[in-house]
């Protein structure tokens, strides 16, 4: 009952004009970003961080989740109509979505995807609403050793799931952890790697690094690509009605994708992308007509698109309950929350319950907004894909420059952003994943605090970890994962979840 009261209060708080506008703007921008091949939700969320500073923490959180969520909705539009995925999580949708379009069923595919996204979003929010407080309470018993082991577990999975070469993922994580050590160490006020420079005393701010690596890198990357004008298939409102048979075939993939996506969202790595691949292969495996997949099977469109939407909500669970982001967009969210002096984690539900429940309520509203936005305006959104990058990228470049400068009025931050952007471009070319790096930067201070507190607690005897059941279980899981990863090729098996990180995570 208490949860219902809190949710009711959440609805009251989220129904303020500012929060509703934030929800709408986030959803709209997210959908547009999802439609546009190029900019991904992470880059856009990083770009929007400076603007959220003007509003409260809840408003900022609602706006950023709206972007992430909207991008998942919008990503399918170009996959179906143009055969170009708007963002990484919609790559799978191209396989059958575009085939449906060629058969004249684009409208039906878009309508079913929008409905599936709505159902998945609602199931995802329900899951978040149920699991987050339960896990948050459980996490109250976590001490520094448990947090440290949980982060080691997350880093092991992240480096393996995010990169083509796990070593590159691991290198990116530790490099991110290093960057977070620059500046005065809060535990003993000792300046490290500052080289006597005053500017480095406070450390390197997260925002310019994120905007550089996701925003500027993307801009430079698009500037180097040759632009090919997409051929967009038109779709009219009256074509949006799916047939009874298509609806019947979509119901179970929708539900399966929603539940599966939520649980995949709990894993470290590019969860939205992984969830679509897992859902697609599941649907193909259990289908009575697997041969239809790749030729316009409605299950191959609805399942993955539902999965990526609920994965967004799933990935919010570790962020909100433990304060540990498992994906690049949630790392940006963590940074945004910290900019507002809110530290997510087990205490969030006691110190800032209003933030959590307003966020949940706003997500329900946002989900409805996205459905209303996406169904009638699908044709208009599809046309956005035709905007040339030569027009869009100069505008985004300048928003990056002015946006980063405006946060602290610091030219140094702008230099950091540009350097990060250029380095990010080469890292991307050499297939070094960016997401583990940014998660390393965000989690660096927590990792160091947990390590030092653990060592102090155990008086230097690390073997005492064995006396902590949760810690040792997490370490055992990490070790088992690594053992499986190394042993699988020896038995001629390919590791099924190895997914190359897409540039637009």
């Amino acid at each position: 009952m208490e949860a219902l009261d809190l949710l009711y209060n959440g609805f009251v708080n989220s129904l303020t004009p500012v929060n509703l506008v934030a929800c709408f703007v986030g959803a709209l921008i997210g959908t547009m970003v999802g439609v546009l091949p190029g900019l991904g939700p992470t880059a856009t969320m990083a770009l929007m961080l400076p603007f959220t500073m003007k509003f409260g923490v809840t408003t900022g959180l609602i706006m950023m989740t709206g972007v992430w969520y909207g991008a998942m909705y919008g990503g399918s539009t170009t996959s179906i109509l143009v055969n170009i995925p708007g963002e990484a999580a919609s790559v799978v949708t191209c396989l059958d979505g575009y085939q449906m379009c060629k058969k004249g069923r684009a409208g039906a595919a878009l309508a079913l995807v929008a409905t599936g996204s709505f159902v998945a979003g609602t199931i995802g929010i329900l899951g978040l609403q149920f699991f987050a407080p339960v896990l948050g309470n459980a996490a109250l018993s976590f001490g520094p050793p448990e947090f440290l082991c949980f982060m080691i577990f997350a880093f092991v999975l992240l480096s393996n799931l995010s990169a083509e070469a796990p070593l590159k993922g691991a290198l990116m994580i530790v490099f991110g952890l290093f960057l977070s050590t620059i500046g005065t160490n809060p535990m003993d006020s000792y300046p490290r790697f500052t080289f006597g420079t005053e500017k480095l005393m406070l450390g390197i701010d997260f925002l310019p690094i994120a905007m550089g690596l996701f925003g500027v890198t993307e801009i430079l990357s698009i500037a180097l690509e040759k632009y090919v004008k997409p051929q967009i298939n038109k779709v009219r409102l009256r074509e949006l009605y799916p047939s009874r048979e298509e609806v019947r075939r979509s119901v179970y993939p929708m539900l399966r994708g929603s539940i599966l996506g939520f649980f995949v969202g709990l894993l470290p790595g590019p969860c939205t992308v992984i969830s679509t691949f897992v859902s697609y292969s599941l649907e193909k495996r259990i289908s009575r007509n697997p041969g239809e997949f790749g030729h316009g099977a409605v299950e191959g469109v609805v399942g993955p698109e539902s999965a990526n939407n609920s994965a967004v909500m799933g990935s919010m669970v570790p962020l909100l309950t433990l304060g540990i982001p498992f994906a690049a967009p949630s790392a940006i969210m963590l940074a945004g929350l910290r900019m507002h002096n809110v530290e997510p984690g087990p205490m969030l539900f006691t110190t800032h319950p209003d933030v959590f429940w307003t966020f949940i309520a706003a997500m329900y509203l946002g989900n409805i907004m996205l459905l209303v936005l996406n169904l009638p305006l699908v044709g208009a959104f599809a046309r956005i894909a035709a905007i040339r990058p030569q027009i869009l990228m100069p505008i985004i470049s300048l928003i990056c420059l002015v946006g980063v400068y405006s946060v602290r009025n610091s030219i140094f931050d702008v230099w950091v952003m540009i350097v990060a952007g250029v380095v990010g471009l080469f890292l991307r070319k050499w297939k070094f994943p960016i997401a583990p790096f940014i998660i390393g930067v965000v989690l660096g201070p927590t990792t160091e605090n947990s390590l030092r507190q653990t060592l102090l607690m155990f008086r230097g005897d690390v073997s005492l970890v064995a006396d902590r059941p949760i810690s040792i279980t997490l370490l055992a899981l990490a070790a088992a994962f690594l053992a499986f990863k190394f042993a699988a090729p020896l038995f001629g098996k390919k590791f099924p979840l190895k997914i190359e990180e897409d540039s637009k995570l």
């Binding site: 290198l171 290093f178 100069p394 300048l398």
Partner: protein, 152 residues
């Protein structure tokens, strides 16, 4: 030719990371390693530096053995990258002096031309629109005080 380009740049980067890892570990030792029972400020970055060196070393090794190669940038790409970066840098240098509106207008125009937006009217319209949008967004709606330079 392509193989050489990738070999040199990426291998140099891996080697640089390896050296950086060692440098971090050495510097961290200087900050005070302490002991496991009483960790000093250098303990954590020492292990981070060591891990960077270790991972970079193995990546370097695998890179040296790899024979897949593709040039990172062709000549046109390199020119575009240099011009884009130069425009970003010029914005940073000129913005405090000339003010953000003027510099934003000029930079947007430069970006349009670098990205080969044809003609003069379209780049002018895009840069004018961008400067106006930036002004409205930051100055008018968000009330953020940004350097105005010559426009006072």
């Amino acid at each position: 030719m392509g193989k050489t380009a990738r070999f040199r740049v990426e291998t140099c980067f891996d080697f640089l990371m390896f050296v950086l890892g060692i440098a971090i570990a050495v510097m961290s030792w200087g900050y005070g390693f302490g002991s496991f029972g009483r960790p000093g400020p250098g303990l954590y970055p020492f292990f981070i530096g060591a891990a960077i060196a270790l991972f970079a070393f193995f990546i370097l090794l695998s890179n040296l053995r790899s024979d897949t190669a593709k040039p990172v940038l062709d000549r046109n790409g390199a020119v575009t990258l240099i011009l884009m970066t130069a425009t970003f840098c010029l914005w940073i240098v000129a913005m405090p002096l000339l003010g953000y509106v003027v510099v934003t207008l000029l930079a947007a125009f430069a970006f349009c031309k670098i990205m080969k937006l044809e003609g003069w009217w379209k780049p002018l319209a895009v840069s004018g629109g961008t400067a106006l949008f930036i002004y409205l967004l930051f100055d008018y709606w968000l009330y953020i005080d940004l350097p105005r330079g010559i426009l006072g």
